[in-house]
Assembly symmetry: C2
Homo-oligomer: 311 residues x 2
């Protein structure tokens, strides 16, 4: 099987100031993931490597660059799933961890649980010897300013939560991959949405919402309006439609359309099918995406945009 | 539309000592939910009332009667979903709350989030004026003894987590309902599994795993091996199969069978379709279930057992 990797850097109204960095970031992650696959690495290894790179990139709301919650703190969610075994690991509301996706991988590999949240997730990290980092090292000046802007316009907590603009900063990152042995995987990571309630968990760490992977069908990683994605199980909806014979393109458009119709939510997905069909579809203004297939790097940001480079 | 309610009290190897209390508990909850529906209450009101009653019943692992985690503490998960709007609210790893399902309902009604976990969920409870209760009031002697038995046989934490018997106590409670206006809802609540890692979240509060409700299709509440249910998105799998035209019975059997085949997990579900078809299916040794339909109370515990009473 010819290996494939597809990356997204979040689906939202990405401002011009972040456009170039977002596109460059997903291209780099696609190259890094493809390098893992080319030397025979598994789909899980490839998505972990790609998402780790995106977590390090301050242009994205995941790991370093995560947005701040209403209490001015960073709480992160991440997940990884192996389509061969349907094993999965996720963390939610974890703090002071540089690479949440790597912690999610350890939950998948070393425990019989799927999801650990809050202090319990941090205790597990400690047990595994994952170092904690000061919160400040994860916070960029952009994230801090966005938080200050948000808090200034909302004088009370009640006001904050009743009048929020859900489009504000939801640039989750994610990856799906198909490896040489024909297995698929997905990984997703996020800092969530600016000024979210402490304890709020979005779609990213939820199997079936933030992504799904089944080597008999394909893999999906989602991004966008987290609550809408959870309420419609966006990723599992797509793989289920693919299982009935729909193409990845048709299934992802149907499921995104269903989400618009039923819950007025917008978002985006990257998909790879078990046969190597690749798709990056979104209903938001923009989504940074990139994929590597057959020795070519493809990428885009605006609707209809599709650039190509030989590797 | 003739209103219907279906209840489960957990799918596992229910011991004889709990059998009578489990059956009595689900029957009471079915009657309570049906009373809400008869006086014109919504499906959401009915599942909230029924699950609250099950949370109060010490025979079940939810609210009062919750099992203890490895640290000897109670951490509870609950969720509710309205099939009309696909709105949902869930809490995970919440402590010192008498009725987690009522807190989940408030998240659905009063916030634009879907899931709050840990301390954030408790802060929200405080904001809503929900009183906290001492942990001891939620712990039964049975739960304490089960924890002691479990801890005695596992000398280290590592040993505890690598050799656990996943069948030990997973009697989540749940309800699905169809109201007079034709809308469906589901609610699920649990204390999880004895000696789980602190911070572990199972299927119960996860939309698509612990349950799903869509008034165009039907509603499902799941129970059993939580990690297997999450990895296969059991509830959403069932509603998606129903959407393609399968009956609730056929869809739930197919999805449970898929879970056995792909991840060697067992569990049970209660389902009501938008047209009033009701089902209680399980692949575990036992599941306590009850439903009220057309003035009759149906219930059972063992495979094939189906009793009837006129109301």
């Amino acid at each position: 099987v010819d290996p494939v990797i597809v990356i997204h850097g979040g689906a939202w109204a990405i401002p011009e100031s972040l456009a170039a960095a977002s596109v460059e970031g997903v291209k780099q992650a696609a190259r890094a993931g493809q390098a893992v696959l080319q030397r025979g690495g598994s789909a899980v290894d490839a998505v972990e490597a790609a998402v780790s790179l995106l977590e390090d990139d301050p242009a994205f709301d995941a790991g370093t660059g995560s947005v701040l919650n209403a209490a001015g703190e960073v709480e992160m969610d991440a997940v990884v799933m192996d389509g061969k075994t349907l094993k999965a690991g996720g963390v939610a509301c974890v703090q002071n961890i540089k690479h949440p996706v790597q912690l999610a991988r350890l939950i998948m590999d070393k425990t019989d649980h799927v999801l650990l949240v809050g202090k319990g997730a941090n205790h597990f990290a400690e047990e595994m010897g994952i170092p904690t980092v000061p919160m400040e090292t994860l916070v960029t000046e952009t994230a801090r300013k966005e938080w200050e802007r948000f808090m200034k316009y909302h004088e009370t907590i009640q006001d904050l939560f009743s009048n929020r603009d859900l489009q504000a900063g939801c640039d989750t990152v994610g990856a799906v991959a198909l490896d040489k042995t024909g297995n698929v995987a997905f990984g997703t990571s996020t800092g969530g949405i600016t000024a979210k309630r402490p304890g709020r968990v979005g779609d990213s760490p939820i199997i079936g919402a933030g992504g799904y992977a089944d080597s008999q069908v394909g893999a999906v990683s989602s991004t966008g309006h987290g609550e809408a994605i959870m309420r419609t199980c966006l990723a599992h909806h797509i793989t289920t439609l693919m299982q009935t014979g729909q193409s990845a393109d048709s299934a992802s458009k149907s499921a995104l359309d269903h989400m618009t119709q039923r819950v007025q939510g917008s978002g985006g997905v990257v998909v790879v099918s078990a046969t190597g069909e690749v798709v990056a579809n979104f209903t938001t203004e923009r989504m940074a995406w990139a994929w590597v297939k057959d020795g070519e790097l493809h990428y885009g940001l605006d609707p209809g945009q599709h650039e190509k480079e030989c590797l």
